[in-house]
Structure formats: structure tokens, C-alpha cells
Subunit: 239 residues, 2 copies
């Protein structure tokens, strides 16, 4: 269906050299940049707790094991926030990054799968830090449905669409077993969810517009195993 390769496309008038501090969300930042900006935000909050008022790209990068130029480029993607000779105003930058990331408001979350991991996440305090609030729980297990966990009632997954819409949920956390993950993801998307934090060890198939972040503990450990194995060659050290 691709036919013959088309000739080199004419150079588009990519007017990308002139970008200003635009009004927010006209361009979508590369994944890598967004990930680091979230890191910057947290580090800045820590600096703020330490009563610092400004910080240089150098210092910010050092705290996160990143290069100064990278910090500057990342931030410059969104606008000109720094002051030559001075650095970045911490309070100001925190506010800006919160706006950019969209964490300057509350985000209701749906937690789907109230097993061990789901419960641990319910207790996890870090979620609340940036306005993420688990607002509704879902499970397949009949014994759980109707019960309350952490003061929230567990709904049937059958009711996902109705309940999640009612709570205006746009983000969901999926903690169900792998073989159920795709079907609950489909339901979540049908309910209007546009971002999924997926703890199930499967690749989810979702529409283009839905963003999935996969947290796959098995994969992460295998990454470490690969590294560990390569440091020791094939020498078995367990004994």
C-alpha cells in the first residue's frame, strides 16, 4: 500500500526558529522534556523549602544529575523564564511549571483494581501532593463491590462509564491483572479517560489521543538484571 517511495518532500517553510513565550499549549513538548520538567518542579519545591529564592541552571542540573544546558533548553521550550546574571526565580518558576504541567488544579483519578497494589496506591501520599485525588474505585470482585476502602465505595467495573463520567474523571490508574487490562482500558476510554497509568504487564491498545504511561515492574527489574549481569560477565556470584 505504500507503493514506491515518494521523492524527497519539498522543504516545508518550517518557521520554528521564532517561537515566543506563547499562551500556553500551542506546541506539544517532547516526552523527554515533559518528564524532566516534572523533575525540575519537584526539585524546585525542595529548594523552596530550603528557603532559596533563585537557582541557576547549573545548580538545578547538579541536583538531578543533568547538564546545565539541558535544563536551560528544556525550560526555554516553554518560554523565557530566566534572568541573565541571576538565574531563575524559584517561586515564579514553580508557578509557571505547575501551570505548564497542569498541576495547578485538582485531578480526579479513577483507580481500577483494588488489589494489593491498588490499596497501596490508595495509601500513597505522594499522589495528593500535586492535586491528584483518587475519587472512585472499581473492581471486578463481587466481594469487594459495595464495600468501602479508605472511605471510598468500590464500584463494579460495569459501572465504570457512568460513575467516572459523573466524577469528571480524565485520568485512570489501572491495577488489574494483565488479562483484564485491555478490557478495562477500553471501558475507561469510553468513559472519557484520556490518560492512563498502567501497572498491568501488557501493552494497551488505545486511541491516538489517549496517553498511556506504563509502569512495568517486571520490565524494570529485567533492566537491572541485564545491567547486573553485564557487570559481572557471566560469573555466577550467588553461592
Amino acid at each position: 500500500m505504500t507503493g514506491t517511495g515518494p521523492p524527497p518532500p519539498p522543504p516545508e517553510p518550517s518557521a520554528s526558529d521564532d517561537f515566543g513565550p506563547d499562551d500556553g499549549a500551542s506546541k506539544v513538548a517532547p516526552r523527554a522534556v515533559v518528564g524532566r520538567v516534572a523533575l525540575y518542579l519537584r526539585q524546585l519545591e525542595q529548594f523552596q523549602r530550603q528557603k532559596l529564592e533563585t537557582v541557576s541552571s547549573q545548580k538545578l542540573g547538579e541536583a538531578l544529575n543533568l547538564g546545565a544546558a539541558q535544563v536551560r533548553k528544556d525550560l526555554a521550550f516553554f518560554g523565557q523564564f530566566g534572568r541573565p546574571g541571576i538565574g531563575y526565580d524559584i517561586g515564579e518558576l514553580i508557578e509557571l511549571l505547575r501551570k505548564i504541567l497542569g498541576v495547578n488544579r485538582e485531578w480526579p483519578l479513577a483507580l481500577i483494581g483494588v488489589g494489593n497494589l491498588g490499596r497501596a496506591l490508595l495509601h500513597y501520599k505522594g499522589f495528593q501532593d500535586h492535586g491528584f485525588r483518587i475519587r472512585c474505585l472499581f473492581d471486578k470482585n463481587e466481594a469487594l463491590i459495595g464495600q468501602k476502602v479508605e472511605n471510598l465505595p468500590v464500584h463494579s467495573i460495569e459501572d465504570l462509564e457512568r460513575v467516572a463520567r459523573g466524577e469528571s474523571v480524565r485520568l485512570a490508574v489501572i491495577c488489574v491483572p494483565g488479562d483484564e487490562a485491555q478490557s478495562v482500558a477500553d471501558r475507561a476510554v469510553a468513559a472519557g479517560v484520556i490518560g492512563i497509568l498502567n501497572f498491568a504487564p501488557v501493552a494497551l491498545n488505545v486511541p491516538e489521543k489517549v496517553e498511556v504511561v506504563a509502569v512495568d515492574l517486571g520490565i524494570h527489574l529485567e533492566h537491572l538484571a541485564y545491567h547486573a549481569r553485564n557487570l559481572r560477565g557471566g560469573i555466577p556470584c550467588a553461592g
Copy 2:
């Protein structure tokens, strides 16, 4: 310049393509490749459960939303495992990838921080799938120390070096609060740990040789929030 066929110069016989042409870690796969290879392994295991015997790069890629060429390149990094016209033998490839990733043996793990998240991970069955076994627990909380959780005694973090060495632990999972993470990481490294799965929301400072994989739920959610925020406009949600 490959127009005319230069005779294939075999620089190395590489009959048994066990990587490690020089001594140990001469060719380390790029991070991105290792991550995907772990995905391939899991998908292949699922295919195997479905009684399939061979698979093409096309099919494997489709199942994971990756391009066929990428699958081939990734696998080709480690050797020539496929058969033209046929594809890859699933059983064979699983064995190979297990060896490559180092999951063809048992990996004892130390779990540091036995709070909500730590306990959830203890119950998490996925760890065992590829030989990862949590073998020792550590916590700072006096009330926990000495108690048993899931049949494993909780040790004081003070004893980390002694106990972890005794169990030949090379990989650690850190689930302590952010402000304690660096100090337990230091102890873990002192105990011989060379891979850390870090759930604490801070950047860890470790020696070059130690690999850290950060699983940072806050960062992941902020990533989703950024995306969700950028999709605003024309939201037909009830309300």
C-alpha cells in the same frame, strides 16, 4: 557505497554468538533496546502459552505497537536469531532473551522500606515470574523490626550491609520516604548492590557502576496531566 558487493568480511567467527567478544562489558546495549527486549520476552511467553511456535518481527511488533524493523534491529543487536522465510522460533528466542537479560537464574532482592508500597510489592506475583525473589526486608521502624512479614523477618536498616551481603543480594528495591532514600541507597551500595529500583521521589546519587531505575508515580501522573491539559477544548464530558 554498498552498491558493488564487497565480500562479507567476517571479522569474528562468532559461531556461538554469546556476546562478550572482548572481556565482559565491551558491548552494552542501549537502554532503549534493553527495555524493549524485556517486552519482547514477555510477549513471546504469551505467544508460547497460545501454542504458537514461530513468530515474525511483524507479528511481534504489532502486538507491542512497534515497527517490524525495530524489532529486528533490536534482536540483531545480540546476534542472528531469526530464520529468513520463517521468522523466529519462539521457544528458542525465549531462552536466548532470558540469557541475555540475565533472568535465566534467580535474583535475590532486598526490599528496603516495608510500608504500604513495600508490602504491596511483597505480594506482587509478577516478581517471581522471572526469578526475582525478595529475600530480605529492611525498615527503620522499631515496631516492625524483628516481626515477620510474608514469612520474612524485617531487619534493621543498620544491618543492611551484613544481611544483604549474606544473601548475596545485588539488586535492591527502595520504598522508603524521599528524605531517607539517599542514605539507604548509600548503604545498599556499600552492601554490594549494583542495581536499584527506586520508588522514592528523589534523584539518587550513586557510583557510575550502579544502575538506578526510578519509578516515580508523581512524575508519571504529571506527565499524564500535561497531556490531558493539552487536549482541552471540545470536552463533551457531562457537566
